[in-house]
Amino acid sequence: MKKRILLTVALVLSVALLVGCATEADSVLDKINQAGTVVVGTSADYPPYEYIDDAGAMTGFDIELMTEIVKRMGVELQWEDMPFDSLVAAVNSGKLDMSISCFNYDEERDLTVDFSEAYYTTEDAFVVSSAFTGSIVVPEDAANYKVGVQSGTVQDGWLTDNLVTPGLLSEANLSRYERVDQAALDLASGRIDVLMGDYVPVQALVAQNPDLLVVFHGELSTGPINIVLPEGDTALKAEVDRIIKELQAEGFIDQLAVKYFSE
């Protein structure tokens, strides 16, 4: 009797789980248009792409760009802020409709989510403190020092693939941080020697911390930045891509770049 009850409960639960997994055929774009709202994720700890201004509101290059895109989609925007490495999982599991957070295209991310057309281009940079006595001429020189990076970023991937895996840099000398400003703090205090990050955000960090300086910048792991979209949703991607191209043609994106990236 008890065994039968347990079996029935197990059966009902597994059916419920399977049903939950099966209903993913509709396009997210239809869902967005029906609800009249699109849920966009970001990690607002990354000036000047996304951050909190003095009044406590979210602002930044990505934020303003997405606000304009959603305006042209004709729906309301609902922002969700969360730690950077939760964003891709959130888009993949349907918690977010899309995400903008200075994402570079990455093959590993492509397995679970899709990317829009590129809306801008970034570079990588290596940052050191004024107390640094070594020399970084080519990127691989960083392997001789203690390196810090934000976890889940393409720089993290680049360091792992190009320095750690071939054995040039040991895992013990690579520190991963949840946010890039944590890494900058450790850089200033001397816990790490080199920080690898996106060029524009680290310039913002350097501007606020005169102890730090950029010693190298170029396109290594980075390049074009894209909006992260749900896997396999061609309708939403087509719509977002269309608007991005529109904005690029109008010069809107260039204007934003001047506003946020100039000194």
Binding site: V19, G20, E24, D54, G56, D81, S93, D181, N209
Partner: protein, 214 residues
Amino acid sequence: MDLGQLLSYIASGTVYTVGVTLIALPSGLLIGTLLALLYVYGGKSAARLMNLYSTVFRGIPPLVLLFILFFAVTKGINLSAFWAGSLSLGIVSSAYQMEIVRGALLSVSGDQLMAARSIGLSRLEAIRYVVLPQAVRLAIPPWSNEAAIIIKDSSLVYALGVPEILRRAQLIGASSQRYLLAYMSAAVIYFLLVFVTTRLLALFEKKLTIPSNP
């Protein structure tokens, strides 16, 4: 950004912290009490099942469980980060609260149950009217401990995107570069929340104490 703006930004996360706690604690209490009653009075196989529940949910770090419950289990269900985080925390707490209530129930002397049955109360009535009220008093000190833990653990939902105190401190720290100030402010708010709660529970406990003979 001046001090006032920074403080008010972080403090505005308090409503989320309190919200998460007010969902997690009572739901944990409800589930925990039901499971504890099953554990103590439900027979051998029920006890074994409850023991398994307790071992599993107390054996995994709450943050790991939050991620599993938020990203995996609610894949089809459309729950907001706030509700998913709060209910997940409630489930984690229910395992600990079950142990608290179970301890309190077992501390009430078995004679009480026997005496209640002997004057004609059914098993259910005996538990409800004789054992449970006495168990409540015994459960308050460890429960006050659990309440303090849940208020602090509510900060874990930052990882799911709930704009509570800790996440706000992180964001404002990153934008203003005034980290120490931001995190100290968060610490003070959490401390005040826990302090007020434990004081109130101590008052409640005092009210329920049976005055003993001098």
